[in-house]
Symmetry: C2
Subunit: 143 residues, 2 copies
DNA sequence: TTTCGAATTAGAATAATTCCAAATTCCGGC
DNA sequence: GCCGGAATTTGGAATTATTCTAATTCGAAA
């Protein structure tokens, strides 16, 4: 179900040649590897700089192309907080994002067991949800 | 608590000279009046075009300035969906946003009675939430 | 009425992202 | 292995929303 979620140390060249119907090119492997390795919700530009370590000729446009391909094939998730640049996240399970205001860092937060949207929101009957985005900002108590 | 939420038909010139500690200039009144009148979550540019009807000399920069002043004084709320331009909303009560994928229109959705965040999310004890954003995308069933 | 800080303005600047057209790579069939 | 068409990559230009800047205007208080 989340085939790649735990493959933190898989080398790019070991990825299968096709993931979720997406042909894995050299660049796409590299971009994906960066996102799986450093799970700190990097921006496109972060990914670009990191990918350059192993692939100095990769271009920013390609990073954007790869990210869009990976996102549209549900291999990685795009995270938007306010008007900041998009960030990318290899965690595909249902979760939301908490931004610590003192560090700016983003943490994944999961739902409590058994929570369903219909229990929380007044939605017209029959409403179909295709995307859900929850983001929080605040501070951890122990500070 | 939500002093302006229902003042749909208040004329700009009738606004008090100070709202939530913000001095109400001619331009700020006009911008606020537009947001209170048309509750369709306009973008800054929408607000600009509408404000020009009654105030042809207002500038886009001013609209941005006014919006930022109104938002930071908690008089209107800024709504960000994905990477689209920010939208503005006079509804200050706790609610979230549902974007109908077929029309693009945005609807307010409220929480069910008594729902609390701590009941829904696995948050480290003591976490303080300063901002919460929930947005949904999908379709109404009856279509 | 004068004054002074705040607000407004037009236009330039910025930043993230997308677009474009050319060059390269990939892959199946010969 | 070689060829052709399709997909991908690339650098740079273009776009878009928003912010910045510096000059001007406004407006409340003295």
């Amino acid at each position: 179900m989340i085939p790649l979620a735990n493959k933190k140390d898989l080398k790019p060249e070991d990825f299968p040649s096709d993931i979720e119907g997406l042909r894995m090119t050299r660049q796409r492997r590299e971009v994906l590897a960066v996102i799986l390795r450093d799970r700190d919700h990097p921006t496109a530009n972060d990914v670009f700089r990191r990918a350059q370590d192993r692939m100095p000729t990769i271009s920013l446009a390609t990073v954007y192309n790869c990210l869009e391909a990976l996102v549209s094939h549900n291999i990685v998730r795009q995270v938007n907080l306010d008007r900041e640049s998009s960030r990318y996240c290899p965690n595909l399970s249902d979760h939301c994002h908490f931004q610590d205001e003192s560090s700016g860092k983003i943490h994944d937060v999961v739902f409590k067991e058994g929570v369903k949207l219909e229990d929380i929101l007044e939605l017209p009957k029959g409403t179909e949800i295709s995307h859900l985005d929850i983001s929080l900002k605040g501070n951890f108590g122990n500070k």
